[in-house]
């Protein structure tokens, strides 16, 4: 029996690689106004994998889900343009959005996956703005489903999924039964471009709107951000002439 629907869970992130990130003057966070936001690169890979699985006819329907303020609908549209069938936007804004962390998101995704009877939930392995690498794992735990994280290859084999995982020691191949949660790593695939004709067509695809309360999820965070600081500026190195000087300096600053 081929799995019915696959959920791809998307994250909207600050493109932290290239634009300039500034810490707010009151050290409570980073300035996000006006900074370019777009789909998390690992989530793009997740979308691509889901769409590929649909093209190979392993699954019937791909649903793109994201939590956040109105901006997030654009990210969902991009996923729809890449080939997802429909989208779900869970509206979280204002103070709730600022406090939103992996646990709250995982609760929302778990509730949705249960409600929509998904067979596979695919996420990016981590978001590039907070680098938490927690949402996928928490979602699997809340659902009590098996998880295949850091996937660099995914093959569906009947009722099971074979996942090749990238781990510190090399590659690990596991077989897990569905329903399952997968998180996408860099080498899983190369995401396709969302071309303009597809973006235009995606405007006609449905994006359902709901709130966390509709899913019975409370957004209270148990984590409080105390302070955000810029990394300390690198100090210039000190050059010494001889090894004796080096030893003397190391002794002087207490290193040895």
């Amino acid at each position: 029996m081929s799995p019915a629907s696959v959920f791809v869970c998307l994250s909207l992130t600050l493109l932290s690689d290239y634009p300039v990130i500034r810490v707010k003057p009151d050290n409570s966070g980073v300035v996000t106004d006006g900074v370019k936001h777009s789909m998390n690169p690992f989530c793009e890979i997740a979308v691509e994998e889901a769409v590929k699985l649909k093209e190979k006819k392993f699954i019937k329907e791909v649903v793109a889900v994201s939590c956040g303020p109105t901006q997030v609908t654009e990210t969902i549209r991009t996923a729809l343009a890449m080939g997802c069938d429909r989208g779900i936007h869970v509206e979280v804004s204002g103070k709730d959005y600022e406090a939103m962390g992996p646990l709250q998101i995982a609760k929302i995704f778990a509730a949705l996956a249960k409600k929509e009877e998904a067979s596979l939930v695919i996420l990016g392995k981590q978001a590039i703005d907070d680098d938490c690498n927690q949402t996928g794992q928490m979602t699997a735990a809340l659902l009590d489903w098996p998880q295949g994280t850091f996937a660099s290859e995914v093959t569906i084999d009947g009722e099971k999924v074979k996942v090749v995982r990238e781990i510190d020691g090399g590659l690990e191949t596991i077989k897990i039964s569905m329903p399952a949660v997968l998180t996408a790593d860099l080498r899983l695939n190369t995401p396709r471009y969302a071309t303009l004709p597809n973006i235009m067509k995606a405007k006609k695809k449905k994006i359902a709107n709901m709130k966390p309360a509709d899913l019975g999820v409370d957004m209270v965070s148990r984590v409080e951000v105390l302070r955000v600081d810029e990394p300390p500026t690198r100090l210039a190195g000190v050059k010494v002439e001889t090894v004796d000087d080096l030893v003397a300096k190391l002794k002087a600053n207490g290193t040895i």
């Binding site: 493109l15 300039v20 370019k36 471009y193 303009l196 004709p197």
Partner: protein
């Protein structure tokens, strides 16, 4: 490919052949050493873009599907800047008033509207008042009315204040200091509310033509081409957008506009456009030094009297003590050793400027070319199937250093001329793409024309022995007193790219090292622009001939592109074989300023648009 020395061929003969090729093209006879020429023959290929190497002759592209999806709109607008957005908004406003349906599509190469926008800027709200009389209620980000206007002539250590009399073009009473990127973003929101289809992240890469030669629309960029020009797995063709009329609002020195000038001979009765480069930074300064609403301009040091240019420093009033400051250098400068970026960094050390910046933090950087030609350089702006709006043809009022209000007005006038034609039952046009000369007539009757005519002689008046001072005297006499009514029209100096003197006739300029507090090096500045491009794509700074940079630019002018590029795109590096140099193009650094296309003395560099959403990520610049 690379032209390699065959071990069987006599190196001497190879050198002669290489020298002959160079001579035939552009370089005047020079004293080349034989050895230098031999090594320039072992040049790695730089350009791989399909505009130089067409794909229909390229075996790697055989069998690749090149069909494009096409869609129809009533009006397509290229460029989401003040002109493009104002035109889109005006069209939709008219459609609403007269209860007609109109499909307006706007494509913009930046990843979001406003990300490629850079300007001083002191906005004159005249055009905005016409477009949205209720702009304040709508939340337009005009938060800083100008309260003080200072003008100085700087010498190395001192400052000579010049009184800002009312009537002088630099007087800013009634204007607002804005962060133009935010203003353009706001315009984009207004346009979307009115139903304009805006597509950021998609660049218009090609102009499409009907069989009768009129403009049919544009095609967006292809994606998924590798750095060497071959197709990748993710290759996708761009999309065609057809329209009854296409508006081109690419800003200063647009790359499609360049093609259109040639195609329709639009520049036959005007002077070649002359430009300047503007570099800008945003600083958070010490609150004690902050004077919100203050506008400061200067001329003089560090430029000599024959190099046009000057500075601006505006104190914004948006919550934190932010100043926008920058430096403009006319691109008709003659010394190839001049570096506009380093002049800018040097200027910040002047006591009058340093005292404002001391203790502050730089948070943004960017650069863009701007028009200096004014009235004398206005081309024909309408042609079958399309029209040019905004800084692309160039409506900037140079002495006021303002072009936003005229750009917006030109967009609005274009919309008003187009609307009746595009909604008419029978457009009665001779060509498939509509030709609407009414736009040009409307421009000539509007305040844009009067304004540009009145200031037409100020910029060219700098071309005299006394340079800057001659120009200021001229402005004082003929503009302030006579308001530009003198019966003559002065000419500019000609093409900017032809103004450079050979390096051996000029003295290298000794620039001070950046101190890391007030002045900075180029690469850390480029990092602050947030610029990035997909790495695996053909460099979009294409060379018509890969051998010319070393043979001409480096040999005669000591490689001026390594100095005028504000992003460090061009570097002359030693060849791996040891002898001689080669040009390295770091296309990923490009901030889309267009200076290289303008100033290259060989006119060998052709800037084309990279994959959409690449480029700087300016936030309110």
């Amino acid at each position: 490919y690379s032209v390699t020395k065959s071990s069987l061929e006599c190196p001497f003969l190879l050198c002669i052949r290489a020298l002959k090729t160079v001579q035939a093209e552009h370089a005047p006879p020079q004293h080349y050493t034989w050895r230098r020429n031999c090594s320039s023959a072992v040049m790695p290929r730089i350009t791989s873009h399909y505009t130089i190497f067409p794909r229909d002759k390229d075996p790697r592209w055989e069998g690749v599907e090149m069909e494009r999806f096409a869609d129809e709109a009533d009006v397509v607008i290229v460029g989401g800047g003040p002109a493009g957005l104002s035109a889109a908004i005006r069209l939709k406003q008219l459609a609403k008033e007269q209860e007609k349906e109109l499909r307006v599509c706007l494509v913009e190469k930046a990843s979001q509207i406003g990300a490629h926008t850079l300007s001083g800027a002191c906005l004159e709200p005249s055009a905005l008042n016409e477009l949205f009389p209720d702009w304040k209620e709508r939340g337009a980000p005009l938060n800083t009315p100008v309260t003080e206007d200072l003008f100085s002539i700087l010498t190395e250590k001192y400052r000579i204040p010049v009184p800002m009399l009312p009537g002088l073009p630099m007087n800013n009473h009634g204007n607002y200091i804005v962060r133009l990127g935010h203003f353009v973003h706001w315009l984009g929101e207004q346009a979307e509310e009115l139903g304009v289809e805006i597509y950021p992240g998609y660049a218009a890469a090609e102009v499409l033509f009907h069989e009768d030669g009129s403009v049919k629309g544009i095609a967006t960029n292809d994606v998924g081409i590798a750095k060497d020009g071959s197709p990748k797995d993710v290759f996708e063709r761009g999309m065609e957008l057809h329209a009854k009329v296409t508006l081109f609002g690419e800003g200063c020195h647009g790359h499609l506009a360049k093609q259109l000038y040639r195609q329709f001979n639009l520049r036959e009765n005007c002077e070649p456009q002359t430009y300047a480069i503007g570099l800008k930074e945003l600083w958070v300064i010490d609150e004690k030094k902050w004077r919100p609403g203050r506008v400061e301009h200067s001329v003089g040091w560090p430029l000599n009297r024959n190099t046009y240019g000057g500075s601006f420093l505006y104190h914004l009033n948006e919550g934190e003590p932010l100043v926008a400051l920058g430096f403009v250098v006319g691109l008709d400068y003659t010394n190839p050793y001049l570096s506009p970026f380093r002049e800018f960094q040097r200027w910040k050390h002047h006591p009058f400027v340093a005292k404002t910046l001391e203790g502050g933090d730089r948070i943004a950087y960017g650069a863009r070319a701007l028009n200096e030609g004014g009235y004398q350089c206005l081309p024909k702006v309408t042609f079958p199937g399309g029209m040019l709006i905004g800084c692309s043809p160039g409506f900037m009022n140079v002495p006021k250093i303002k072009g936003t209000h005229t750009a917006m007005k030109s967009g609005m006038l274009a919309a008003e001329a187009i609307f009746p034609k595009v909604t008419a039952e029978d457009p009665a046009s001779k060509t498939a793409g509509l030709h609407i000369p009414e736009y040009e007539d409307n421009l000539k009757k509007s305040w844009i024309w009067k304004e540009l005519y009145a200031v037409r002689n100020i910029r060219p008046s700098f071309h005299n022995y006394f340079g800057l001072y001659g120009g200021m005297v001229y402005t004082g006499v003929f503009y302030w007193i006579l308001r530009g009514k003198e019966p003559w029209t002065l000419k500019h100096a000609g093409l900017d790219s032809a103004q450079l003197k050979p390096a051996k006739e000029c003295t290298p300029i000794e620039y001070p090292k950046p101190d890391g507090k007030l002045s900075f090096d180029l690469l850390s500045s480029v990092a602050l622009s947030g610029t990035n491009h997909e790495g695996d794509q053909p460099p979009h700074l294409t060379l018509k001939d890969d051998s010319i940079p070393v043979a001409n630019n480096l040999a005669i002018y000591d490689g001026p592109e390594q100095r005028f590029c504000p992003a460090g795109v061009y570097e002359y590096v030693p060849l791996e074989t040891g002898e001689g140099m080669r040009l390295q193009i770091n296309a990923q650094n490009c901030v889309h300023c267009k200076t290289c296309d303008i100033k290259d003395p060989s006119q060998n560099i052709n800037w084309v648009v990279p994959e959409g959403s690449g480029g700087p990520a300016y936030n309110g610049l």
